[in-house]
């Protein structure tokens, strides 16, 4: 039975700006943002706090490892000293199990691992609050910084809003990529964030569905900062590599509207389930990158996309094929989360075909378009007017007092699932049903003894030079039901390690690997 449940997470690289100071160093400001959040909360913020020993960004899912000498410096994320401005590479692990750090001149919030689209929405939104609190902490000082949950400056630069999905390792990667490419080329109609301007530098006036489409150049590849591919092959599972791969999706837009985020993750999880079950519809686009951009530039949603066999389908028709297959595989007795995604994906496709404006309360590209065209009609402005470019950027301002998305949402124009109280709770607390629980609770309770952490490890000091690395290669372990009592009752790190069954050898090297004692 196909279900939407899967280990998933969202990454947001925030646009960063010092008002009136375009030449401010964005690496420095990003580090200031992270520190402004971490400092008052007693969270450790240092480059060395992330445990890079388990990272392998150059491993390619197609079965090889890129030579470091051939890699662009921006790909060497596991060698932070190699990065320019290395002194600004702040790294924080939050009480909710998320990572908050400086990545490529942007502050990035990587959400903790969650299992359902509803939980992705909640902990992704918690990241927006973390960003807001960072901005607020710097607001009174001499160099205030503003953050934008968007993806481009429309001057040629783009930054990502990545998604991560745990996928069965036994799925053939070429099959995975072939099934995903038509899905990703067309998924933007459901969850594009919208953008004023056509072309990477916005050189042509107009509006398009996706903020990222014009920055993609190839179908499959390892890079994320150049020659961006529709399917990214980074093979860094942050989990047992014999069982899992982590699909690192770089093509999405940063969604703010919760319904769009829900469908973005939910529909993708279902398509991955179809692929794992060998039930994914096979569609082959003649030119996927061209189709991606064609869809983004076609607000009428009627562009006929050429398939490899010479026939044509629209983006809505292609999405409908994936939906159909998912709905059949889900069957009649779906769990609540799965049924919700199937219903919303269905309704989105129906409305997109009949009257996209019905979705102005659910999908960012439509909400933003409605706002822009309303303003445009009032003021008689052409698409290349700076006011429209401003509205485009300010839609994504993380401050509810300035962000136009928040204005729309607060006015009841955009549907919301979460409450402020739930989001505040998710800022301070981890999901309970993944290993993020153990990570977050340890940060909360034993920060002093934590030397470093990563997605799949915690490294403790137990006094002196001795470090103990606790591997966490299994995302479904370290949950509240498995370790909750142990963590809550442990009075010290020594007790915690003992209760977790981690024992150290007296004369071993400082870092002790205990792969057999996974928690």
């Amino acid at each position: 039975m196909l279900s939407v449940t899967r280990v998933m997470g969202a990454e947001t690289e925030f646009g960063i700006s010092q008002p009136g100071r375009p030449r401010a160093n964005p690496m420095r400001d990003s580090a200031r943002v992270i520190d402004a959040y971490a400092g008052p909360r007693g969270l450790k913020s240092a480059q060395s706090f992330w445990d890079f020993d388990t990272e392998s960004p150059l491993a390619d899912a197609r079965g090889f490892i890129m030579n470091e000498a051939q890699a662009h410096i921006s790909q060497l994320t596991h060698l932070p000293q190699a990065q320019p401005d290395a002194q600004y590479l702040a790294n924080v692990v939050l009480e909710n199990g998320a990572r908050y750090y400086v990545d490529h001149a942007h502050p990035e919030y990587s959400s903790p691992e969650t299992l359902t689209p509803r939980d992705v929405v909640l902990w992704d939104r918690a990241g927006d609050v973390v960003a807001l609190r960072s901005v607020e902490a710097l607001a009174g000082g001499e160099e205030p910084v503003n953050l934008y949950k968007n993806n481009t400056d429309s001057k040629g630069a783009s930054y990502g809003a990545h998604e991560n999905y745990l996928v069965d390792r036994s799925v053939d990667f070429d099959e995975l990529a072939a099934c995903l490419i038509p899905f990703f080329a067309t998924r933007q109609i459901l969850c594009g964030a919208g953008r004023v301007g056509i072309g990477a530098s916005g050189e042509e006036p107009g509006y398009q569905i996706s903020s990222r489409a014009d920055f993609f150049e190839t179908e499959i590849g390892l890079e994320t900062t150049l020659r961006r591919p529709i399917v990214n092959t980074r093979d860094e599972p942050h989990a047992d590599p014999l069982l899992y791969r982590r699909l690192h999706v770089i093509i999405g837009d940063a969604t703010m509207a919760e319904p769009a985020t829900l469908v973005r993750f939910g529909a993708t999880s279902l398509v991955l389930g179809l692929i794992e079950a060998g039930q994914c519809p096979r569609i082959e686009l003649a030119d996927p990158v061209a189709a991606l951009q064609q869809v983004s530039h076609d607000l009428s949603l009627s562009a006929p996309l050429e398939l490899a066999d010479g026939s044509h389908m629209t983006a809505v028709e292609i999405q409908r094929m994936y939906w159909q297959a998912a709905a059949e595989a889900v069957g009649a007795s779906a769990d609540e989360d799965t049924a919700e995604v199937i219903e919303m994906w269905d309704r989105f496709l129906t409305d997109l075909a009949e009257d996209p404006m019905r979705l102005a309360g659910e999908i960012d590209w439509i909400a933003k378009l409605q706002l822009l065209t309303g303003y445009q009609q009032r003021e008689s402005l052409p698409w290349n007017h700076p006011k429209l470019a401003l509205i485009d950027v300010q839609y994504h301002d993380v401050r509810p007092s300035k962000g136009l998305f928040y204005k729309l949402e607060a006015a009841g124009r955009i549907r919301r699932f979460t409450t402020d109280a739930q989001v505040s709770h998710a800022v301070e607390n981890p999901p309970e049903d993944t290993r993020a629980y153990l990570r977050g609770r340890v940060v909360e309770k034993f920060t002093d003894a934590l030397v470093s952490a990563s997605w799949d490890s915690l490294v403790f000091t137990t006094g002196g030079e001795r470090h103990v690395r606790v591997p966490m290669k299994y995302p479904l372990k370290g949950t509240k039901s498995l370790v909750g009592e142990i963590v809550e009752s442990a009075g010290s790190v020594g007790e915690l390690l003992k209760s977790l069954g981690i024992t150290t050898l007296e004369d071993s090297s400082p870092a002790v690997h205990r792969d057999r004692n996974e928690v």
């Binding site: 630069a157 930054y159 056509i198 404006m357 019905r358 409605q370 009609q377 470019a389």
Partner: protein, 64 residues
């Protein structure tokens, strides 16, 4: 800003660029401007004061 990522999008298919003034969805004529009227009434007080300067200064380094 030096080192700024400059990735130009090259149209592969050699096809015509999209229409000069992209056609909004048919449905757009049916937009109830009323639906966003209260927001639009308020928007100028929320928007950054100098749009041109703000947009010019919104320069990002490329990311992932």
């Amino acid at each position: 800003m030096s080192g700024q990522e400059q990735i130009r999008h090259h149209r592969k298919d050699g096809a015509e660029p999209p229409e000069e003034t992209p056609v909004a969805p048919q449905a757009q004529t049916q937009i109830s401007t009323e639906a966003v009227d209260s927001i639009l009434d308020d928007i100028d007080s929320v928007l950054e004061t100098n749009a041109e300067e703000f947009v010019r200064n919104f320069v990002q380094k490329g990311g992932q």
